[in-house]
Symmetry: C2
Subunit: 439 residues, 2 copies
Amino acid sequence: MFSSFVCIPRAISFQSITSHSSSKSEKAQRIDHHFRKIHRSVNMESLQNRYLFAEIFMRESEYAERNPNARLIKLGIGDTTEPIPDIITSAMAEQALALSIAQGYKGYGPEQGNRELKRAIAETFYKDMQVKENEIFVSDGAQCDISRVQMLLDSSLSIAVQDPTFPAYIDSSVIVGRGGTFKAESGKYKKIVYMKCGAENNFFPNLSTTPRTDLIFFCSPNNPTGSAASRQQLKQLVEFAKENGSIIIYDAAYAAYISDESPRSIFEIPGAKEVAIEISSFSKFAGFTGVRLGWTVVPEELLYANGYPIIKDYDRIVCTCFNGASNIVQAGGLACLSPQGFQALKRTMRNYMENAKILVDTFESLGLKVYGGKNGPYVWVHFPGLSSWQVFNQILERAAIVTVPGIGFGPGGEGYIRLSAFGHRDSVLEASRRLRMLL
Amino acid sequence: MFSSFVCIPRAISFQSITSHSSSKSEKAQRIDHHFRKIHRSVNMESLQNRYLFAEIFMRESEYAERNPNARLIKLGIGDTTEPIPDIITSAMAEQALALSIAQGYKGYGPEQGNRELKRAIAETFYKDMQVKENEIFVSDGAQCDISRVQMLLDSSLSIAVQDPTFPAYIDSSVIVGRGGTFKAESGKYKKIVYMKCGAENNFFPNLSTTPRTDLIFFCSPNNPTGSAASRQQLKQLVEFAKENGSIIIYDAAYAAYISDESPRSIFEIPGAKEVAIEISSFSKFAGFTGVRLGWTVVPEELLYANGYPIIKDYDRIVCTCFNGASNIVQAGGLACLSPQGFQALKRTMRNYMENAKILVDTFESLGLKVYGGKNGPYVWVHFPGLSSWQVFNQILERAAIVTVPGIGFGPGGEGYIRLSAFGHRDSVLEASRRLRMLL
């Protein structure tokens, strides 16, 4: 979701802007006068410039420059590192090569995704949940689908998010005009409801005090806390949405990592199809972060106030603003969901979750409160009395480990840091050694 | 850009909607009462349901059902049909397989695209135009980039489009709220300026009578007319944009097909970097319609009225609403731009353009006025006195050839049909035979 590179255009010379205008000086002046008339969108204007992972990258680079011999361990960005099982990459290679022969060539596919892949997604992830193939929209990833869902829904709708949570829900909401002004004191956008999800409430919002909003973004297992909502909690959430006439936009990108009885889909909850859209991804369970594949389920039962099916509008968005995921990548997705592919991926996931356990044990042995790492590949560590940037800096400076300061996920993340379990085992073990020495 | 499949959800049973609510009837009633509160966005509401290629597909399917033995020739949707040169698919296969080994695995890449690919795009398409690598944003295709540019810019901005033109400019503008109400009598959205580009004005708008708008969508070579704007015309367009303080959103998806001296990029025009964004694609020149790869150039010189660089906001959009094109596909893009790859693609393009010539000759020999087919792979045929749907129907019913009625590209397309030259040679020759017999 986050590259280590952010384009920062060089300073623009204002002189260069007018250098091409007409040689007739009168006309040139007239042109210069009218030259730039397009105002910046208020939404982009209110979007905070502080781009979390760019800031982290800057600090990391500065550190590396000052310490050229340090062996930096990156447990910051949640980026997969283990190779993709051969059965999956072979399927993609085969599909690529098939495009070179007359009988194998394929042009545009359905914008909504290939039928076999949609069927495999329905069978693998939505068994007994009455999710139909035509309700599944295959895409190039969850982050992209979040913004397509944003385009779908009226910009005047109000939203609630977990606090802390993945920043793209808020940022894309601000981009389409649902944020309001940013308040530096609170670290919050005025029009957004932040549902505190901390250790004190078992990482689930207190719905009895949560104001009604039109939309509720909900990520489970949560990024960054790694905690998955229980069946009972999700039942409450669905009932809350029904009572309020809200739509839940449920992000299940980490669902495959759930190890206990927590639901892996909102559609495990009876009645959820009337109130929820689910977004999911191959990125984290199949190592497809750079390959790009995801999907979104928009149930037929989900209707606007006037009774019009939302799926019809989403289909239109997908056909107008998107053009289908790559056919090569979709072939890989299908191989991921074959019995052999899925078994191989489970081994990789187990490996990451063992990393998580190593990190959890490390911090617990140091007497710190640690969350996550059981149903999701993130470890969420509390450092009482310290700011999360302070902790980030100390761990970087003294152990050469890159983490993510919790505040980057919302004000509710202050005092915490997130570690990704997606690293290689030797890095995680080395990180554990350094942390034990440091703390 | 258009699949042959459009999801039309089955009729929704309104009874089923309430079937999951609580067993306590009082509570159930309360929930039902509040159940659906989300209003449909006014923008989606004003979007016309008539989805051109869905309508075509329906008529085509009906015909096929009535005539099970007919050999249908599809020259409708502009979908590539020739295999991709082996050097390109091999590069993708290799990249896919590399993801299975520890040293070859890659996760998230830069959202803006891989550096080598951006450099190759700059060198191949923007030589001597001062387009820098960091101004190029690699994507999953032009249609997707159009909607990202729509998200970038304030929804209150006014727009102009060529008439006729590719429908996605208008549809995506309506989705973000720039359309206003649709007028059935005129076939136009109230707030959109339609710049008539017909044979009578050499397919270039009369700018002296064109009202000022904030944004100008301009596609050259144009889809559907196949005509490319000349250098002189594009100079006028750039000057017009400067005088009005407008931004040109220039779609160059078919630029590689230009065979004369017409510019292949808006940035060939001095000063264009201050007023234009260019969107382009691998779809049509590399047969990547199903593989998915494109790019957008946002120049550093392009500024908002307040002097803020638009590239900074676009970078933010790309980082927030997109996550980079597939690494496998980007490897293919790089191979397309290798000397050997590009030579091979030129052969395929020549083949398509020979198809175009066959179609042009066919219609001309029948005494019809034919446009396009020289700088773009579309042939645009005038049938005076007939509606384009009438012509579409006759050619379908009597020659079993699928075309596209010109009116689907805007009211200015009435009386015309578009034929795609992207078919196989034998189909095109057979179509030519049938048309000569029919007309």
